[in-house]
């Protein structure tokens, strides 16, 4: 227990100075601190841990020795703090005595005169001026510019804004808002259901665009029975538009008896593709069967990386179809070793990023194989530059339900278009009118509420 209090020290019987067990005197710093602390060290402080002190006191020691032990302990701690302080300040001097803890405190000197001449390790009677320093003055004011202060304040406000709970935004649930919402819904429902209930055929046919004609010509230029890679890359949420647009293209390809190889970079894509073929089989009277007329290779994982991998090594990346068959050795595909061996690539997507990935990762590997993109109207502006540029990076572009559904005259596309087109036309017009009326009303209200300057 005593070792905890004052390790390896004992008191000299002659002058009460502190020695360690190796006969060496405690360092001068400790003595300096002793002087400093002696004035501060009140009896109350000495009794910080009376039990430990009592354990530390040998029976034959006097009360003065006890006090001195405690003070020496304090001075040791002070010395350590000073050593740490110096090391923090980067004070490194070879001539300066090294301050270390506990038993490593080795600072000896030989007494030059007096009764202890020649004795090493005697504590000096007076303070060593070497260890007296001017107190280091540290500024407590942060040296920053005004701009830095402003930025710090802004950052502080931002952090506070993040951690403070935000009050829940209470939306107004006024009756007028509900009536307005229901009213708009009724208008749209009526505009959709009216053509359906009257069963009036589409009176206005969408214009046939130059893009659709080009895509049609491209498909027509490919010989019957060609092998086509078809990627169904759209989510079920937008399948209404995409099915209608893609159906006309696939329908034309089925008429020419193309062998379809289906893939998808969307997990739900393989099922979407199967569903579309079932619909076209029913609507167009085709007998497209798996393995006989088409192969569904399934889902390509990995996004753009997976797509690039598939473009470089399709046989290795997608070795089996959805049924687990090794289809690459079947007669229709045995001559296909890379994507450039396909006669045509068709990509159907509602997502511009997926369309771009096909152009960026796959198109450069296609060689002379043409590629057609069938896209949603919302994705068309993003992919049109690939088609309209010179030289063009894609050879065909079919966009949206309106343009795509009518560019070919076949049974299947007629089924899609007759179901939707009249209702869609009327709903778009009514919706646009409602938006226009709303914009006019809100503009009038904002003009009325604006204060005159």
């Amino acid at each position: 227990m005593s070792d905890d209090i004052k390790p390896n020290t004992e008191t000299s019987p002659e002058d009460g100075k502190e020695f360690d067990k190796s006969g060496e005197v405690q360092k001068s710093t400790a003595e300096q601190s002793f002087q400093d602390s002696s004035s501060d060290n009140q009896p109350g402080q000495e009794k910080k841990n009376p039990e430990r002190l009592a354990d530390a006191i040998p029976d034959d020691k006097t009360s003065d020795d006890v006090a001195e032990k405690s003070l020496v302990q304090d001075s040791q701690e002070d010395g350590e703090e000073l050593a740490d302080d110096q090391s923090d300040r980067g004070v490194e001097d070879k001539d300066q005595p090294k301050l270390v803890k506990g038993e490593q405190e080795v600072h000896t000197r030989e007494e030059q005169d007096g009764p202890l001449v020649g004795v090493e390790g005697v504590l000096p009677a007076e303070l060593d001026p070497y260890f007296i320093h001017e107190p280091v003055r540290r500024s407590i004011k942060l040296q920053v510019t005004e701009a830095q202060e402003t930025q710090a304040l802004l950052l502080d406000q931002m952090i506070k804004g993040e951690i403070e709970p935000q009050p829940e935004v209470t939306r107004s649930k006024s009756a007028s808002n509900n009536i307005l919402r229901i009213g708009i819904a009724v208008f749209l429902l009526v505009s959709i259901l009216l053509p359906l209930s009257t069963r009036v055929p589409a009176s206005i046919t969408p214009p046939v665009s130059r893009d659709s004609v080009s895509a049609n010509q491209l498909i027509e230029s490919i010989s019957d029975g060609a092998t086509v890679l078809l990627s169904v890359d759209y989510e079920p949420g937008l399948s209404a538009e995409m099915d209608a647009a893609l159906a006309s293209v696939v329908d034309r390809m089925m008429m020419k008896d193309f062998y379809l190889v289906l893939v998808s970079t969307v997990p739900t894509g393989p099922v979407q593709a199967e569903r579309l073929l079932v619909f076209l089989n029913q609507g167009g009277g085709y007998q497209y069967e798996s393995s006989e007329n088409y192969t569904n290779l399934g889902y390509i994982p990995g996004g753009p990386i997976g797509l690039l991998n598939f473009a470089e090594a399709p046989r290795q990346v997608m070795p089996y179809d959805l049924d687990g068959n090794a289809v690459w050795y079947s007669p229709p595909l045995q001559n296909i070793s890379s994507l450039s061996d396909f006669d045509l690539v068709v990509v159907a997507t509602e997502n511009p990023d997926r369309g771009r990935s096909w152009v960026e990762q796959v198109q450069p590997k296609l060689g002379n194989t043409p590629i057609i993109l069938v896209v949603s109207r919302q994705a068309e502006p993003f992919v049109r530059p690939y088609y309209g540029s010179e030289p063009s990076q894609i050879q065909g572009l079919v966009s949206g339900f309106g343009v795509g559904a009518f560019y070919l005259n076949s049974n299947a596309q007629a089924g899609f278009s007759s179901m939707y087109w009249s209702s869609l036309n009327l709903a778009l017009i009514v919706g646009g009118l409602l938006m226009l009326i709303g914009a006019v009303i809100y503009a009038g209200k904002s003009l009325n509420t604006r204060k005159p300057e």
Partner: protein, 233 residues
Amino acid sequence: MSVFDLNNLDLLGTVLSFGLTLIVFSFIFGDNLLFRFAIHVFVGVAAGYAAVMTWYNVLLPEIAVPIIGGSQAERFFALLALVLSTLLFMKAFPRLSGWGSPVVAYLVGVGAATVIGGAVLGTLFPQVLASINLFDFPSSFGNSSPVWVQISNAVVILVGTISALIFFHFGARNRHDRHPERAAWISAVAWLGQIFIAITFGVLFAGVYIASMTAFVERMTFSANFILLFFQL
């Protein structure tokens, strides 16, 4: 044909589809319990389907089959993929998430290289070349348009591209006793670019509007046909 001509599975699917469609449309009357239930069903079904598809289309043919019956090289690569996948799975556990960091780093590095390389070589350079070619009048637009149309198109695209790019230039010079401001000519060109950007957003909104309305019409058509078939109308 009526709905009762369908087989049991098709009939169940059609009825479920009709019911869920109506439940989603109930949002017209505000957020409600049924709508939330339908949303949760959609999320759950999508997640479950994705998991099944991943197992049958990725894990089974890419990992399990090569390990069981593949050649030595196939086994090695499949095992390597399995180990890396397992390490990536550690990301789900906070105490072990550090094990997955190298795999994530690898994925991010490869992904960034692939995407950036594709964007530069597949989009940026070809589109810059295409913009330059717009002023190569004898070959642009297949010579089918009059020259003044070709010139107009080229100028509009050039001005639109440059002004839209300059709109995103926010550099400004510091002036004495005044707030930093963009140069006057940059502000003018940026204003022009703002118009092009606004038109672009308008076109994008129109596309989204048409796509959404098409989905709405398709669902309403399906519901109307279901009712007509159900009541033999």
